[in-house]
């Protein structure tokens, strides 16, 4: 079994094996965590926010009909299609592909990649949490906010 060193590698493999255009990992907060494939045509920041909103709304719909969640969302367009699946409670995977005939392959590769990525995505170790100096961060950020927001006021 191939060992993936990080989620990006798993996404790259997914893009290669499924022949999709783009694959992304998006946090529940609507932030793009990892991207693979062609993203030049796409505003991934906006897409991440919208997909997260859509998925959260769909979760509420699932609860209304007695399901905990719908684990897969599929949006079929004329030329491009989107497959969205839950990796865990906080991360979802988005696959954009063109040939709808390949939906079976996309689903199969998505399931394989999901399992790999779910194993990779572990909580941040304590050591990395300490990397950020919170007091220093606050002071610098407050100064930066003053500089940026005072500027357009002349």
């Amino acid at each position: 079994m191939q060992v993936h060193h990080n989620a990006k590698e798993a996404l790259d493999k997914l893009v290669n094996d499924s022949e999709c255009i783009t694959a992304l990992l998006i946090s529940r907060e609507g932030v793009s965590i990892e991207e693979s494939g062609n993203t030049g045509y796409l505003n991934t920041t906006a897409l991440a926010a919208l997909i997260a909103g859509m998925f959260t709304a769909t979760r509420e719909v699932a609860r209304m009909v007695g399901e905990e969640h719908f684990s897969i969302l599929l949006q079929q367009g004329t030329n491009r299609h989107i497959h969205i699946s839950l990796i865990n409670e906080t991360v979802m995977m988005v696959i954009i592909f063109e040939d709808y005939q390949r939906i079976g392959k996309v689903r199969y590769e998505a399931k394989k990649a999901s399992e790999v990525i779910a194993n990779i995505m572990q909580p941040e170790p304590e050591a990395s949490v300490e990397k950020l100096n919170v007091a220093g961060f606050r002071e610098y950020a407050l100064n930066l906010i003053d500089r940026i927001f005072d500027k357009p006021q002349g």
């Binding site: 907060e29 932030v31 709304a57 990395s128 930066l144």
Partner: protein, 193 residues
């Protein structure tokens, strides 16, 4: 608690603009997008209906810059103001690091302001936000109308918590930057890991 990605060295704070329908929440974001350095604001996503009402949310990401090696961003959202979209508001408020309440200053909007404010505070409780310490700024918008409620009346009705307030004419960009600056500073001041 903001979103923190240690691998990519990114921090994203979430700011939500709350308030009754047509009070100027989307206009605030549009003006921020117009006024601030275009290199710092990415493309804005506006999901208005044909009647210029926000159906789900609007979204504007703003890059603050690099701090302590982390790329820091404020993601600004609006909620739909109409009463029937309570489910959407609840979802959008989830994970918010701070809120701007945009009130309409016209006297006919007194009840709508109050109802929206009450819905916001109920949402705060359900999300576990402490209404006293939670970053919240009130904006009294549309101060250029012929008839407006006086500020003390609006404070008495909407600001029992003594939060910071700003008068605004969002359509002209007045008070918009002051508002976002204040809520940003409150969020950063409260930031902890």
């Amino acid at each position: 608690m903001p979103y923190i990605n240690y691998d990519k060295q990114e921090i994203a704070f979430k700011i939500v603009y709350f308030g009754p329908g047509m009070s100027g929440k989307t206009t605030n974001l549009i003006k921020i997008h117009e006024i601030l350095d275009p290199q710092k604001c990415s493309e804005m996503v506006v999901l208005d209906t044909e009647e210029e009402r926000t159906l789900f949310f609007d979204f504007l990401p703003f890059d603050l810059g690099s701090i302590c090696g982390f790329s820091v961003r404020f993601n600004m959202y609006t909620v739909p103001g109409q009463v029937q979209y309570e489910a959407s508001r609840k979802l959008i408020l989830d994970g918010a690091d701070g809120v701007v309440f945009v009130a309409d200053s016209h006297p006919s909007k007194r009840e709508e302001n109050l109802l929206s404010y009450q819905m916001m505070t109920e949402n705060f409780v359900s999300h576990g936000f402490d209404p006293v310490t939670y970053p919240l700024v009130l904006q009294f918008n549309k101060r250029d109308l012929d008839q407006v409620m006086n500020i003390s009346e609006m404070n008495a009705s909407l600001n029992k918590g003594g939060h910071k307030t700003f008068e605004a004419v969002a359509l002209k960009g007045q008070g918009v930057i002051e508002t976002i600056k204040e809520v940003s500073k409150q969020i950063v001041t409260r930031f902890e890991i």
